[in-house]
Subunit: 91 residues, 2 copies
């Protein structure tokens, strides 16, 4: 869960996730929305992938990224739980 919280703490990565809500996009398509180099984009995508927040699929030369819905739900649950348990914390 550390990976997830760290991943979503970065504004660039949240914007990437936002864009992916519209549907799968390639690394290049995502990159058009940012003023950073390809390798920097790849770095952020790597962190999202490590956190399991996105999944990838190659289609020809491009690699398409999409949101991993189930993990998003797990993450939401964690955050809710983290915030709600008031006593006997186990997080």
């Amino acid at each position: 869960m550390q990976d997830v919280l760290e991943a979503i703490s970065d504004p660039t990565r949240r914007k990437i996730l936002d864009l992916l809500k519209q549907g799968p996009k390639s690394a290049g398509e995502l990159g058009e929305h940012f003023d950073i180099s390809g390798p920097s984009m790849s770095h952020h995508l790597g962190k999202l992938k490590t956190a399991n927040l996105v999944v990838t699929e190659r289609r020809g030369q491009s690699i398409y990224y999409s949101i991993n819905t189930s993990v998003f739900e797990d993450a939401a649950q964690f955050v809710i739980g983290f915030f709600q348990e008031k006593q006997g914390s186990k997080s």
Copy 2:
């Protein structure tokens, strides 16, 4: 909200929040649970305060920290919303 996500992305700060779930604690009492200096503790508490995740109250020489419940709820709502809106994202 950036401040909140950044604040909870750090393990030390999540542990602080966890300890505070049991009730208010002074900076010194919190520090006993960590192997870091007072100023480092103060730094983390400052970040939590900037994010408005904790509130403080001076009692004599000590300053007591406690969880700011309402903001925790806002934060949970944000994360849930962030994860759930699948289209037309506005976050």
